[in-house]
Structure formats: C-alpha cells, structure tokens
Amino acid sequence: MDTVTTLVLGFISIVVVNNLVLTKFLGICPYLGVSGRIDMAFGMGLAVTFVVTLSGTLTWLIDHLILMGTPFEVTRYVCFIMVIAGAVQLVEMYLRKFFPSLYDSFGIFLPLITTNCAILGLCLFINLWGIDNLAEAVVLSFGAGIGFTMAICIMAGIRENLNLANVPENLQGAPITLITAGLLSLAFMGFAGMIR
C-alpha cells in the first residue's frame, strides 16, 4: 500500500471503526456531560479536536526524538500528560480571548479536557500500534478528534429529541442517556473488523 492509501484508511479507521468514544469507551465524561445541546457539543468537539491533534503530534515527536532508545520510556505517561495539559491551557486562553460566550458555556468542562482519557488514550494508542511516521500520527490524531466530534454531536442530536419523548419516569435523566450511549456504540460495533 502506498502512503496515501495508508493515511486515508487510518483516518477512516480511527473515525468510524476504532472510534475512541464508541468502541474504546474513552472520553465518556464530556461525551455525557456536554452533549445536552448540539451547538455546545460541536464546540466541545472542536476544542477536543484541536487539543488531540496538537498533543498527538507533539507526543509522537517527543516519544520518537527524545524518549525512545533511552531507558526513560517509562516517563512517557508523565510527559504526555504534561503536553496535554499545556495544550489545554493554550486552548483555554484562546477561547477566552476570542470566543467568550463559548468559554462561559463550557465552564468546568474546558479545563477537564486535560483529564479527557480519549486524548491520553490516543497518544498511547499511537505508541501501542507502532505508528512510525509523523504524517500517520498527525492524521490519526486529527481523525480521533473528528471521531469524537461526530460521536458527541450524534449523541447531542439524540438527546435534544429525547427531551420531547415520553420516557418512563424511572428511566428519565441519566439512565436513558446511558442506554442511548450503549445502543449507539452497539450500532458502531457493526463496523468492527472492517479495517485493521
């Protein structure tokens, strides 16, 4: 396979087949917390996409240029978390300056991107899958963000309609949300094994 095919397949794989939220169950906190309204969900998806692209690329560089080959590969987690925290700080400052209303509506969920396990998960997956060229790492990181945005937007769309549905009283609120999330990931399990 030539490089372009690998990149395209990698992208499709991380967005649909190996979607971090729906098949790896990472990043559930913002997935359930910020999926109440579709515009906020989209904003959150974009913020996560930015952070995950930046940190995925940077961690690949750090991993390959500094850590690999030295006995300090064990410090990978700490380094990765540091990169992610730094990227989130950048996004926070940027949003506060240029999109104050979005900044206000995110509230606590914006700094919580730091602890979004989808991002750390992706950085570690890149290492685990043995991705050894930069272009592929960038495409995978970006695709992971797009996949997260897609998942959270689908969820927000469903939940907006769920507000008008006649849900049995004992299932209202969190239970029906979790059931919806389960059904959604069940649907995405249908893609399993298509690529890689």
Binding site: F72, T75, C79, L90, M93, Y94, K97
Partner: protein, 294 residues
C-alpha cells in the same frame, strides 16, 4: 547498603529528571508567551459583584447566569436590582461596590397565577394525549374549553429553580414560602397567565382569571371564571371591569374593608388573596349551586 541503593537509583534516574525539567520549562515558556499575547483585561469589580450575587444562576435577571449579570451590571449600573433572589441586600452590595447610591427599588415582585380552576372546575371537549408540555398543548385550539386558563402541564414547575410552583389538580399554585420572585415561571407560561406583581402587602388581592369571554360563555366553560358582573367595581374603586374581566389596580390596593366586601360579593369567588399564608379560597356560590343541581 540502603545508601548505596539510593545512590544507584539516583545515578540511573537523574537524566529522566533533566528531560522532565527541560520539557516542563519549554512548555512554561510557550504558555508564558501565549498568556501575554492572549491576555484578557477584566475589571476586578466584576469578580466582586459576582461574589455578592447569590450564585443561583436562575436567569431571573434576563442573563444566562450570575457571571453574565455581574459583567453586565458593572458596565451598566441601571441594571442594579434585577436580581430577585438577592433582593435589596444584593442591590445595596452591588451599589457599594460600584460606588453608587440607590433609592428604594420598591416592593418585591412575586408571581400571581391568573386562574383558579382545578381539573374539576374546567370543561373539556376531549382527551388530550399529545406532548405533555403547556407550550405544545397551547398550540392546539381545543385542548380545553377555556382558551385563557391554566393548562396544568407544568412548564412553570419545570423552569422553577426553587421548587416553588406546583401543579395541584391541574392548576399551577405558587408556594410563596419558597418563591424568590425570579420570574422564570412568568416567562415560561405560554398563555401569559403568571404576572409579576409588586407585593406591597403580605397578601395581595387579585382576580384569578384571564377569561375575556362574555359571562354566559365563561360560565359554560368554567365554574370559577370571572363573568364580568361588575359587582366588585361597584363596591371598591380598586377594581375595574374591562372586556368582561375584572382587574385589580395593584398600586392602589389596600387591605381595607371595601376590598374585603368586594371579595365576599364575587359570585364565582374568583377574587382571591395571594401570598404567604393567604386565607383559603372561597367556594364559587353560583358554580356550586349549579353543580349540586345538575
């Protein structure tokens, strides 16, 4: 032995520390530059005002939350006094933060529901089985006979942050002990039945009906509607009857004898007292007679 172990550990691990320091330092540098470039100047008064507010984020002031209101009020002091849950205390605090003197903002406003028909008082043409919100039901012309009265699906209950308004037998009733007067229910009611009234006294007299149909039509729809008979306006000048509907001039209302007499004269008992510990509503005279005869 132990010392040697520790020394060995130090020997093999100090480069890791150097790497971490190097990475941390470079990120700190990037963030330092970014924080200088992307600095947001914020008035320290905004934070002070935010602290003085109750922090309930009820939205009664017309802003999305206390943070937004604090920002708005710091720029435009005319907005002082919009915070209903905080009341006069909060308004005074904000004024002192902004170095302003404010005059008395008047009596606190509380909601009054302009309907007193429970399910058994209303007339229905059919059985509504649609979406159970007032906004949805209101779109349907014939959901109940009275096109002015409370629908009883609880849009107001859902928006109330303080558990202060409830649907009791198909009628929204305000719990004045818990009500903070934020006005969220008044905005939520699709029929505009809930009015924010300045409570100059503990209990305010009001006409709990909005039906503008002629008396005979109103009677056919509802046992406790205002039929526009003008008995009240003849006894007390606080009452005015317009479009077959009595109204109270809240600014001139006093809990005096004439008003009490007017309340006693009302044939459908639609003139009620609202407020903390208001006396029980009287039964409709004519309505009750009709119900027992037919």
């Amino acid at each position: 032995m132990i010392l040697a172990g520790i020394y060995e550990l130090w020997q093999s691990s100090w480069p890791a520390g150097v790497i971490m320091l190097g990475l941390g330092g470079s990120f700190a540098l990037v963030l330092l530059i970014a924080s200088e470039k992307l600095k947001v100047e914020e008035d320290p008064k905004i934070a002070q005002i935010h602290e003085a507010l109750p922090g309930l984020d009820c939205g009664g002031c017309g802003y999305a939350g206390c943070g937004q209101y604090a920002k708005a009020v710091s720029q435009n002091p005319e907005l002082i006094g919009r915070c209903a849950p905080g009341g006069k205390k909060t308004a005074d605090k904000i004024a002192s933060i902004l170095n302003l003197q404010i005059s008395d903002s008047g009596a606190p406003k509380k909601p009054i529901v302009h309907c007193r028909a429970h399910t058994e008082d209303k007339t229905f043409y059919g059985d509504y089985r649609g979406i159970t919100t007032c906004t949805a039901a209101n779109a349907l012309a014939s959901v109940q006979a009275c096109n002015f009265g409370c629908l009883g699906f609880g849009d107001c209950t859902r928006v109330c942050r303080f558990d202060a308004i409830h649907i009791v037998d198909g009628l929204a009733m305000v719990d004045y002990e818990k009500c903070t007067g934020c006005g969220a229910c008044a905005k939520a009611c699709p029929r505009g039945l809930i009015e924010m009234v300045p409570f100059t006294y503990e209990n305010m007299m009001t006409v709990a009906c909005r039906n503008k149909e002629k008396g005979k039509v109103t009677r056919s729809m509802c046992k406790v509607g205002c039929i526009g008979c003008k008995l009240c306006s003849k006894v007390s000048d606080v009452f005015t009857v317009e479009d077959n509907l009595a109204r109270v001039d809240y600014g001139r209302y006093k809990p005096d004898e004439a008003n009490e007499k007017a309340r006693g004269k009302c044939p459908t008992g639609v003139i009620i007292l609202a407020g903390k510990g208001a006396p029980a509503q009287q039964e409709a005279k004519a309505g009750k007679a009709k119900a027992s005869s037919g």
